[in-house]
Symmetry: C2
Subunit: 339 residues, 2 copies
C-alpha cells in the first residue's frame, strides 16, 4: 500500500463514496488514508428511479474529478451506501421505505457497469459508522458501535474492523433493539415496532412526545413560542432547554435514559469499547448545554446499569464527521474491497 502525503500527485488510488438519501445524494472523493479531497451533492429525485440517479451520479463524479484536477484513472473503486432493505451479497436494493420507486434494483452492478469500476455496496448507516471508525471519532478503535439519531435510529456495529452486515443484510439495526418490555410500550412511528429504541430516541419520537405533553397541558416555554405543536423539532427543544425550559429538559433526559438502556444491552453483547452518537438529533451536541445534558443523561443510565468490567472502559461520545461520515465510509468500503 502506497503512503504519501499527497495522493493526487503520486498517482495512488482514489475512492469515490456515494451516500444515497431520500432527498439528496452526497458524494465525495477520498484518498487512501480517508482524507476527503472533493465533495458534491445532488438531488435524489427519487420518483425518476435509480437508473436516472446513477447516470447523474456518474456525470457528477466526472465533473467532480475534473473540477478538482483529480486524475480519473486513479479512481480505483466506488462505495455506495443506500438505505435498506437490501440484499448486500447480491448487490440489490429491495424495498427502501424512503425510496419507493427504487424497488428490487441491482444497483451495485448497474453502477459498476456505468462507471467501469468495482462498486462496494453497504447499508447507509453501516457506511456512516465505518466513516467514523476510519477517520472520525473511532479512528483509534478496533471495534465501535455507532448509533445514528435522526428521524429514525440507525446503527453500525463494527467488530475488529468489519461491520456486521447480517445474514439477511439486516445486521446492525440498533434502532430496533427492545428498550421497553411493558405491554403499553410506545410504538415506532415508522414501522409500529413496540418498545424499540427508535420509538424513544429518534427525532420523530422526541417531537411526538413533546407534542403529547403539550397537548396534555404541561407548562413549557414552547407552548407560547410555537404556534403549531405538530411542527416541533428537536432543535426547538434544544433552544428551549438551553433557556432552562423544564419540559424540554425532561424529554431530553427521557430520550437519553432509553438510549442508555439500549447502549447497556449493546455493550454487554458486543463490548466495543466505544459508542459513537451520530445524526442530527443531538440537541446541539458538545457545543450546546442541551447537547451536553443529553449525553450526560445517556452516560448516567449506562453507568447505572452496566457491568463494572465495561462501565469505566467504554467511551460514549458524539460523532465528529457530521453528515460527511456516509460518503467517507462508503469510500472506505470501496477501499476495503480493493485490498
Amino acid at each position: 500500500m502506497t503512503e504519501t502525503s499527497n495522493s493526487r500527485e503520486s498517482g495512488s488510488s482514489l475512492f469515490l463514496g456515494v451516500d444515497v438519501g431520500g432527498t439528496g445524494i452526497k458524494m465525495g472523493v477520498v484518498d487512501d488514508a480517508g482524507q476527503p479531497l472533493a465533495m458534491s451533492r445532488l438531488d435524489t429525485l427519487e420518483d425518476r428511479g435509480p437508473e436516472d440517479a446513477l447516470q447523474r451520479v456518474y456525470a457528477a463524479a466526472q465533473q467532480l474529478f475534473e473540477k478538482n484536477q483529480l486524475p480519473w484513472e486513479c479512481l480505483a473503486a466506488i462505495g455506495l451506501g443506500v438505505p435498506g432493505t437490501m440484499d448486500i451479497p447480491r448487490g440489490l436494493i429491495l424495498a427502501p421505505p424512503n425510496l419507493p420507486h427504487w424497488r428490487n434494483f441491482p444497483i451495485r452492478d448497474r453502477l459498476a457497469e456505468i462507471a467501469g469500476r468495482p462498486v462496494a455496496f453497504a447499508n447507509d448507516a453501516n457506511a456512516a459508522a465505518y466513516g467514523e471508525f476510519w477517520i472520525g471519532r473511532g479512528e483509534t478503535c478496533d471495534s465501535m458501535i455507532m448509533l445514528t439519531l435522526g428521524t429514525g435510529v440507525g446503527g453500525g456495529v463494527i467488530v475488529n474492523g468489519k461491520c456486521i452486515d447480517g445474514s439477511n443484510s439486516f445486521g446492525s439495526e440498533c434502532g430496533h433493539l427492545l428498550v421497553d418490555s411493558r405491554e403499553d410500550a410506545r410504538l415506532c412511528v415508522w414501522d409500529g415496532g413496540q418498545g424499540q429504541l427508535e420509538a424513544y430516541a429518534s427525532a420523530s419520537a422526541v417531537a411526538r412526545r413533546m407534542h403529547e405533553l403539550l397537548k396534555a397541558g404541561e407548562p413549557s416555554s414552547l407552548r407560547e413560542g410555537v404556534a403549531d405543536f405538530e411542527s416541533l423539532t428537536p432543535l426547538d427543544l434544544a433552544v428551549a432547554a438551553d433557556d432552562g425550559d423544564e419540559l424540554s429538559l425532561r424529554i431530553i433526559a427521557e430520550a437519553g435514559r432509553y438510549l442508555g438502556i439500549g447502549i447497556v444491552t449493546l455493550v454487554h453483547v458486543i463490548d466495543p469499547g466505544m459508542v459513537v452518537l451520530g445524526g442530527a438529533m443531538n440537541f446541539g451536541g458538545d457545543e450546546a448545554p442541551a447537547g451536553r445534558y443529553f449525553l450526560q443523561a445517556i452516560k448516567d443510565e449506562f453507568r447505572r446499569r452496566a457491568f463494572d468490567v465495561v462501565r469505566d472502559t467504554t467511551e460514549i461520545a458524539y460523532a465528529s464527521l457530521g453528515s460527511d461520515a456516509g460518503y467517507i465510509g462508503a469510500a472506505g468500503y470501496a477501499r476495503m474491497s480493493c485490498s
Copy 2:
C-alpha cells in the same frame, strides 16, 4: 490443510480441548474436522488453585493419548475455555466467580509452558458456541448466536466464523442484555443486574420464580410432591409440566417469553440467521413435551416482535452437542490459532 477420513493414522494434526468449570474439567482430543476421538473428565478441585489443576490436566491428557493410541506428537495445539472474568489478549484469568482461588493467573502461558504446545484461550461460553458452530447445530451457518441456559445465562456471538470476544474480553455476554425496563424488574441472583435476561431465563431464576409462587399459595402438583421448595430445579418443573401442571407450564412460558424478547434484540443487532439454545435448562429439550412447549413460547414471542426481514428466516433450535460443546469448541479455537 490435510483432509483424510482417519487423521489418527495419517499423522495429521490433533487438537486438545479443555473446558474448565467450577466443579469439573472436561477435556477431549479432536481431529482436524472437529470429530471427537477421546474424552475424559477430572475434578477441578478449585481450592488447590490453577497450577495444580494444569499439572493434572497435562498428566490426564498424556494418559488420554496413550490409552487411545493417539500419537502425542500429532498434538498441534491446545484450546482452553474458562469462565470469565478474563483478559483474552494477555491470556489471564482475572476473577471468575466460581473459581475464587484462580484469580489473576496467566493460565494460557502456563499451560503452554507445561505442555510444550501453543494454547488458544477462550471464554467457556464462547468456546461452547464455537463447538456448536463448528460441528453442531450451526455447522452449516456463517454466523450464529448461542445462548447457554444453565444456572446463569451465557452466550456466544459468532459473526462470519469468529466469536465476538470484546474490547474488555466481555463480548457475547448475552445473559446481561436488558429484557425488562420496569423499575421493579427482577434482579439477577448472581450479580444483582436488574431486568437482565439472566434474571428471567436461567435455572436459578426459574426455580426462584416457582418458589415465590408456591409460597404465595398458587396451586401446583409440585406443592405436594416436593417437601422443600428451596430445592426445586427446572427438571422438577419439566416433570410436572409434562403431567399437565398449570403453574409449571406458566413459568416455563414466562421464561420463554423473556428469552424471545432477548432474542429479538440480538437478531435485530446481529442478524445471525441461527440462534442455538444450549445448556441444561431446556426442560427436556426436543425430546420432552415441556421442552417443546418452552421452545414454542420462545418462538412465539420472537415472531410477535421481530421484523419481517428476519422473522421467517431466523432459525431457533436446541443445541446438539450437549456438554461436549465446550471442549470441542476449545479445540476448534486451537485449530483456528494454527491456521
